[in-house]
């Protein structure tokens, strides 16, 4: 009994250890070369936004043994200051008090010449009534089109780490497919349908990484299509198939999420359209 127990414990321990040690190996990412990560050395002052006091050219010159003239030249060679915004400049129609004492520098003159001449007709208004809606409604700016968001989204080397993430990403993709099919007029609801409550059609599609259909889409429960008295269901199923075929390819789907959208089920439910 004792021997058997010891053997059993040892045997189970071996399985558990091999499981703990061995299983992660299958899932471990293979080395794919080192990533070059640029590291920038920054002063603590830059991080804390506290600027050290700038040294005067004279001080620099004295320290490096340069003459004052050379030090000034070096200062001129420094990167130019950011260009002045046109809106901050005095408009030609505005009567700015001329400063005769100090002539404008060459850079300022060039900048002034670049400013387009504004006639009173297209003089910018400080308050534009037409843009009031845009000022009030910030949704468009904060929430762009779902398909664009999906296309622009950089998933990079993100890893699926939890079911919550999977569900969120699946929802985003499902919403995008829904919108895409609607926006492109792909689904024409069968007009003659009677008994819309029983006309819910599920289509299973398989896509390649380019978003193209692999084979023809399949109607789940397609046997019903050929049963007598199911003409309306057949029509509904065929309209759903046409919708899926017309909208292909689905090339807006994020390729790095391919494992999520490789197989999809699209449910077409005309009840809301026919009875709503």
């Amino acid at each position: 009994m004792r021997e058997a127990l010891i053997i059993s414990v040892i045997f189970h321990a071996v399985i558990i250890i091999s499981g703990i040690v061995g299983l992660p190996l299958f899932n471990r990412e293979r080395p794919t070369g080192l990533k070059v990560i640029p590291v920038e050395m920054v002063k603590i002052a830059n991080v804390t936004r506290l600027k050290a006091q700038e040294k005067k050219p004279d001080q620099v010159a004295r320290k490096k043994g340069l003459s004052r003239k050379k030090a000034l030249k070096r200062q001129v060679e420094m990167p130019p200051p950011p260009p002045q915004l046109a809106s901050d400049m005095p408009l030609p129609t505005m009567k700015a008090k001329p400063d005769f004492k100090q002539k404008p520098t060459k850079a300022v003159r060039t900048a002034i010449n670049r400013i387009p001449k504004i006639t009173p007709k297209n003089k910018p208004r400080r308050f534009n009534v037409g843009k009031l809606a845009a000022l009030l409604d910030k949704r468009a700016a904060s929430k762009p089109d779902i398909i664009k968001r999906l296309t622009n989204k950089k998933f990079g080397n993100e890893k699926v780490i939890s079911m919550v993430d999977v569900r969120q990403q699946s929802l985003t993709i499902a919403n995008a497919v829904n919108k895409y099919i609607y926006d492109n007029n792909c689904w024409n609801v069968p007009a003659g349908a009677k008994g819309a409550a029983g006309l819910r059609v599920t289509i299973h599609i398989r896509l390649d990484p380019e978003g193209k259909l692999i084979g023809l889409p399949k109607v789940v429960g397609s046997k019903r299509m050929n049963l007598p008295g199911q003409e309306f269901f057949r029509t509904a199923a065929e309209s759903a198939l046409r919708a899926v075929l017309k909208c292909a390819p689905y090339n807006f789907l994020p390729r790095d999420q391919y494992s999520l959208w490789r197989d999809m089920e699209i449910i077409f439910d005309p009840e809301y359209m026919l009875n709503g």
Partner: protein, 457 residues
């Protein structure tokens, strides 16, 4: 022993953790996106109807065989477009490539896709040795690249329009799931002459207005023609020497018989769905009630007994109920009762007057005429009175009749008179259940009181 218990505990925890991890991993790997779509569009389906290919050099009466093919295709197109559910792709956009005969069985779907067609009809026409036309067509699903249906018909050349309607019905049925209504006829009252002395003749035509024929000579006033739902027979009311009689007329044989002489005035005779009874209203001593007559025994049964005016009875498709209009509640409204005259209940409660209820062949709706604030409307409601929808509106319109598939309603509409007393013409119109597809049916003279036939067998 304590060590043993600890080891077992650790073992259970490890196994539990591993199982949970594995289940989660498997679930994530098998997660399938489900897209739920409940918004779509109700646009007409784009269909390409190609001309039926025939021999241009084979001339028969009325033109070459190829000409017949073109004519049939044109009628098919017209039928489909009139339904409002289809949009035909212009033939000038067709991409021609390869041998047209070979393409009949192997259409180049990419070419049809490129011009936006989602369905394609093609076919051929030829003449048999016995002089009959052989017409065959196929309907293709362009996007799926497969045949949906196909038929072959044999007929004499004079029936070419009927073949076109049959093809249109087959296409309509295959693409919508409901039976078509193109191979049908309309019987109506043709009117001519001044308003005070109108000559009213019974006339019949195809549902698209072609093959028009007068059935009576106009000597006697005719009213309320109604088709039998099972045979090519009509009932109508005719005044002979100011004596109203209900007649039964067989269109195929041309035979006419008197259904009965009834005391008093008889209105609106209408067949039961099985064609074995005729239901009507009869005015006797100033009181109108609903009566039903067995056609085989000629036995008459009174269904309503009320001092009010009960008229315009119509059976439900299952023959279990009858709808009619009555002013027993103070104003003219629509009522439904059991087929034996019991359990009478009012179903219309809107403002104005409701009349001429007609039960849909599908059984789900009742069409009616509503008069409110000086205007007339054609509308539909469910048999329990809910879901009332008004489909059309004008100065005066009345007499709805259903297409056999219960999707289109035909009625007559009268134009208003102008200051000089001109105008007032009546014509036939159709409107579908959406209310958007309203079209006039062209008749040679003025027309009123239409009745739609069942599909011709």
């Amino acid at each position: 022993m304590e060590l043993h218990v600890r080891l077992v505990k650790i073992w259970i925890i490890f196994v539990g953790v591993m199982l949970v991890s594995m289940v989660q991993a498997v679930t994530i790997a098998n997660a399938r996106i489900v897209v739920d779509i409940n918004r779509g569009h109700a646009n007409p389906l784009p269909i390409a109807v190609a001309n039926l290919l025939g021999d241009e050099n084979n001339i028969i009466s009325g033109g070459s065989v190829n000409d017949y093919g073109k004519r049939i295709s044109l009628v098919v197109k017209a039928d489909l477009v009139r339904s409002g559910l289809f949009r035909t792709v212009a033939s000038s956009a067709f991409i021609k490539s390869g041998n047209e005969r070979e393409n009949l069985l192997n259409p180049k779907f990419d070419n049809w896709k490129a011009i936006g067609a989602q369905a394609l009809m093609n076919g051929s026409i030829s003449v048999q040795e016995d002089g009959r036309l052989k017409v065959e067509f196929r309907l293709w699903d362009v996007l799926a690249g497969r045949q949906m249906t196909g038929f072959r018909y044999f007929t004499s050349p004079k029936n070419w329009r009927r073949i076109a309607h049959l093809i249109a019905d087959a296409i309509y049925q295959r693409l919508t799931g409901e039976s078509g209504y193109f191979d049908t006829r309309i019987v109506y009252v043709s009117e001519s002459g001044p308003a005070t002395h109108k000559i009213k003749r019974l006339a019949i035509m195809d549902q698209d207005g072609y093959n028009h024929e007068f059935l009576t000579d106009g000597k006697n006033l005719v009213l309320t023609p109604r088709f039998s739902p099972t045979a090519q027979e009509i009932t109508y009311l005719s005044y002979n020497n100011n004596n109203p009689r209900v007649y039964l007329y067989n269109i195929d044989s041309g035979k006419q018989e008197i259904l009965g002489d009834f005391p008093g005035m008889t209105f609106a005779p209408r067949f039961s769905p099985d064609g074995n009874k005729v239901i009507m209203s009869q005015a006797y001593k100033g009181n109108s009630d609903i009566y039903v007559m067995e056609l085989t025994t000629r036995k008459i049964t009174r269904l309503t007994r009320n001092s009010a005016i009960d008229t315009s009875p119509s059976y439900s498709p299952d023959s279990r109920y009858i709808t009619f209009n009555s002013d027993r509640g103070g104003s003219q409204q629509i009522y439904v009762m059991d087929a034996d005259g019991k359990n009478i209940r009012r179903i219309s409660f809107g403002k104005g007057r409701y009349g001429t209820p007609v039960w849909s062949p599908r059984g789900d709706l009742i069409a009616f005429t509503r008069q409110y604030k000086g205007k007339f409307y054609i509308g539909v409601m469910r048999p329990d009175g809910s879901g009332e929808r008004l489909l059309s509106e004008s100065y005066f319109e009345e007499g709805p009749t259903w297409s056999p598939n219960g999707r289109v309603i035909m009625f007559f509409r009268q134009q208003p008179y102008d200051k000089n007393g001109r105008g007032g013409e009546t014509h036939l119109w159709t409107v579908d259940l959406t209310g958007y597809n309203e079209r006039e049916v062209i008749t040679p003279l003025e027309a009123s009181d239409p009745a739609w036939s069942p599909l011709i067998r």
